[in-house]
């Protein structure tokens, strides 16, 4: 390389100004191409194959070239400066995207939440006042709280219990995969499945819903599982528990397996029975994992939307915050209220998220 470079230096193309100018020109061309492509992509009369080609060229080649050229440019700088700037060249686009897709929309949402339905007039705290006084909103808050307590509590406890119980049996993998299976189903898919569980037909007609078929078989009157309050909220919560228990079990099972057998043996020698071992040895030992799993479930539950949307769409007193946010935004086209609800949801998730990140850091 060194020998070759002395020969190159004689050529005009490789003179110092050209070496700086080249990446600059290249970068300008790239940005021009980026700008041009955004226009091209919006052209309604462009054939699909051209769009595809341009998208591929810009998306794959363009980004690569951008990094090459930017890096090339930085290399021309004095070595000390180049080393200082280089990290930002590589992190920069990521930060920029993070800003464009995360920070900016968040600030924008916060701003919109103080404007009216059409985002034209300043209305102060009115949207938040609505969020905390409207009857359906109060129901939504109540329900979200119910979801939080029940789903987190039950799925984590069940997951832990199963993890411990299954630890001792020979067909552990089979049992675990069966319980883990619902985890692979999307929320919407699960909701569709459970619609058949809860289906209702008037009395005297064949019941196609499993629960009502069993219930009427035992001589009861068919129950409108999704329409009867407050039964319906619990009926929806069951779906989420069904989906999440597998996740809790898998993670907690790994933690349970890491409990040293010496510890368990020592406890047994000291005369502890299995229940005492569970509460006084295993639980304290896996408590950190329990916390992590619980916070993950909490964040998930705060965002619950799909199940409610598919099953009842918040009717019959099953409203939750996220579903209401969607309704305000897209059905009622009240951007102010929708944004306010999004902000409330964000604030509700924030402490859990911070706690989660901290505990992860400590674990590392």
């Amino acid at each position: 390389m060194q020998g070759a470079s002395t020969a190159e230096e004689s050529s005009l193309l490789d003179s110092q100004p050209a070496r700086i100018l080249r990446p600059i020109l290249g970068l300008t061309a790239i940005f021009a191409a980026f700008g041009w492509s955004t226009g091209f992509m919006r052209d309604p009369n462009a054939p699909a194959w051209q769009l595809l080609l341009v998208a591929l060229a810009i998306g794959v080649l363009g980004v690569w070239t951008l990094f090459f050229l930017a890096n090339d440019l930085v290399s021309r700088f004095p070595r000390l400066w180049a080393e200082r700037i280089r990290p930002y060249i590589f992190v920069g686009p990521g930060l920029l995207l993070l800003f464009a897709y995360l920070v900016f929309p968040t600030v924008q949402t916060l701003y919109l939440s103080f404007l009216d339905a059409r985002s034209q007039r300043w209305v102060g705290w009115q949207n938040y006042q609505f969020a905390f006084t409207d009857r359906t909103m109060l129901i939504a808050f109540r329900n979200n709280l119910l979801w939080l307590v029940l789903v987190t509590g039950i799925s984590v406890s069940l997951g832990l219990l199963i993890a411990v119980l299954v630890d001792r049996v020979r067909w552990e993998p089979l049992a675990k995969s069966l319980i883990f299976l619902p985890m692979a189903i999307s929320f919407v898919g699960a909701s569709v499945i459970w619609r058949f569980m809860y289906a209702f037909q008037p009395p005297g007609r064949p019941q196609i819903g499993l629960l009502n078929a069993i219930w009427t078989g035992l001589g009861g009157n068919p129950i409108g599982w999704l329409q009867t309050q407050p039964l319906n909220t619990f009926a929806l919560i069951v779906i989420m528990i069904w989906l999440q228990t597998g996740f809790c079990m898998v993670i907690l099972s790994a933690a349970v397996k890491s409990v040293p057998s010496e510890l368990l043996e020592a406890a047994r020698i000291d005369g502890a029975n299995e229940i005492e071992i569970f509460f006084q040895v295993i639980i304290p030992y896996v408590s950190k994992t329990v916390m992590t799993v619980a916070t993950t479930v909490v964040i998930l539950v705060l965002k619950v939307f799909d199940i409610v949307y598919v099953m009842t769409s918040g009717q019959f007193g099953t409203e939750v915050i996220a579903n209401r946010m969607y309704s305000e935004m897209f059905r009622f086209r009240h951007f102010g209220r929708g944004s306010a609800l999004a902000v409330i949801l964000l604030i509700a998730v924030l402490p859990v998220m911070i706690g989660n990140i901290r505990s992860w850091r400590r674990a590392q």
Partner: protein, 429 residues
């Protein structure tokens, strides 16, 4: 020393730039000869309806060489909001109801069709109420493409005739018929309003039909625009009239729980059992789509006009439809809009079924069966036609509290509270 292969990067960028500029015309450039012009339409008809719509556009495409690209979604309201806010609007929007059209018109997003279409041709082609329904603040922004009729009561013909029942001509006769069916040991009505997130809309149709019959079109219009409030005694009367049927456990299969939990599409099915689970079912003209395949409309099931209540308001018809609005003003889009205002634009769909034309020139012979033809005649002969009111109210009411209000009323909540709550949710501007 230098880790970057410089010649490579240079040639890469050059190749990239040249290939990009070479491979297609500039977006602003006028179309090169031979390139097909494309017009995009976004609407709410999906699957079979979408295919039938595309078929109706084919004669136009062959004639002009303009390619009409239709895209439909069952989630119309959400996706159109995303596309409009995201700066990627279709050329033409086919609104399934005028409420959203009014909002977009007020925001200045729709093209003034008065400047695009021939007004004389329009007034010849449509009865005035259709043009009024497409006009916002004295500007024509939408033309009607498809109509549907809602004021229909369906009944199973063989069973109905076998029992010796007669088609009622007045509301009182309708209730008398219901009583007679009860006395004969049957259940008169099948009602089901379950429609997951949209549960309740079936009830709003009943209220609208009844209000048109008890208080007339003027009161109806004032109610739709909230000039008279939701808790007005006349609106309350309409709810109570509906309650005469809905809240009477002898009248309705499954009672109020049955109404709340039966999907609206399945509700009519018990009619075809032996003995029939019910004899009457009020639903719009689209009902046959939901019937079991062995049921033949016209032979096994027919409809009659939901009878008048107060004779002074005549025989009003309540209905719905799809209205086309123009977003992007380009010559080829104008051509498509012009075509959409002709009866011809709906012909293929009308012949395939599931389509009523709002156009005066639509030929009754186009419709594939007597059932559709009778609906078209009902629409043609109506004293007054009114559009589905809940679809014209602001979304927060029409697709929100009005629906929940119906559910609450059925679940036994006090009617005054229900109506007051709906009124309170009306957006204040």
């Amino acid at each position: 020393m230098n880790p970057t292969p410089r010649p490579l990067s240079l040639s890469l960028s050059l190749v990239l730039a040249t290939s990009l500029f070479a491979c297609a015309p500039q977006p602003q450039q006028p179309d090169t000869a031979g390139a097909r012009q494309r017009v995009t339409i976004f609407g709410a008809f999906v699957e079979e309806d979408a295919r039938r719509f595309e078929a109706s556009m084919r004669p136009f495409e062959e004639q002009t060489g303009i390619q009409v690209e239709y895209e439909g979604s069952g989630d119309f309201e959400t996706l159109i909001t995303v596309r409009m806010e995201g700066g990627d609007p279709p050329d033409i929007i086919a609104f399934p109801q005028p409420g959203l059209m009014v909002e977009y018109a007020r925001e200045g997003r729709l093209v003034d069709l008065g400047e695009v279409l021939d007004s004389q041709q329009l007034s010849q082609g449509y009865r005035s109420f259709w043009l009024d329904l497409g006009t916002v603040d004295d500007t024509l922004v939408g033309v009607w493409y498809r109509a549907s009729v809602k004021s229909l009561v369906w009944y199973p013909v063989p069973q109905f005739e076998e029992a010796g029942y007669e088609i009622p001509e007045t509301w009182d006769e309708l209730l008398a018929l219901s009583d007679q069916i009860v006395a004969d040991g049957g259940t008169p009505w099948c009602i089901g309003i379950e429609s997951s997130g949209a549960t309740g809309w079936v009830g709003t149709d009943w209220i609208e039909d009844i209000l048109l019959r008890t208080s007339g079109p003027e009161v109806y219009d004032q109610w739709v625009s909230n000039e008279i409030p939701f808790n007005d005694p006349r609106v309350k009367e309409a709810f109570e009239k509906m309650g005469e049927i809905w809240l009477n456990p002898d009248y309705v299969l499954g009672g109020t729980v049955g109404i709340l939990t039966t999907p609206f599409g399945d509700a009519a099915n018990p009619m075809f059992e032996e003995p029939p689970g019910c004899y009457l079912h009020r639903q719009a003209s689209f009902l046959p789509v939901f019937l079991p395949p062995e049921v033949e409309p016209g032979r096994d099931i027919d409809f009659f006009y939901l009878p008048p209540i107060n004779p002074e308001h005549g025989r009003p018809v309540m209905g719905a439809g799809d209205v086309m609005s123009m977003v992007n003003d380009r010559p080829e889009v104008r051509q498509v809009m012009e075509y959409l205002t002709t009866a011809e634009a709906g012909r293929a769909w009308a012949e395939a079924g599931g389509f009523l034309s709002p156009h005066n020139d639509a030929d009754l012979d186009w419709y594939p069966d007597d059932l559709t033809r009778a609906q078209a005649e009902l629409l043609r002969d109506a004293d007054t036609f009114r559009f589905d009111g809940s679809d014209m109210m602001p979304g927060a009411v029409g697709t929100g509290t009005f629906w929940t209000g119906i559910v609450d009323y059925l679940s036994g909540r006090d009617l005054d509270t229900v109506l007051l709550e709906i009124q309170r949710s009306w957006p204040q501007d």
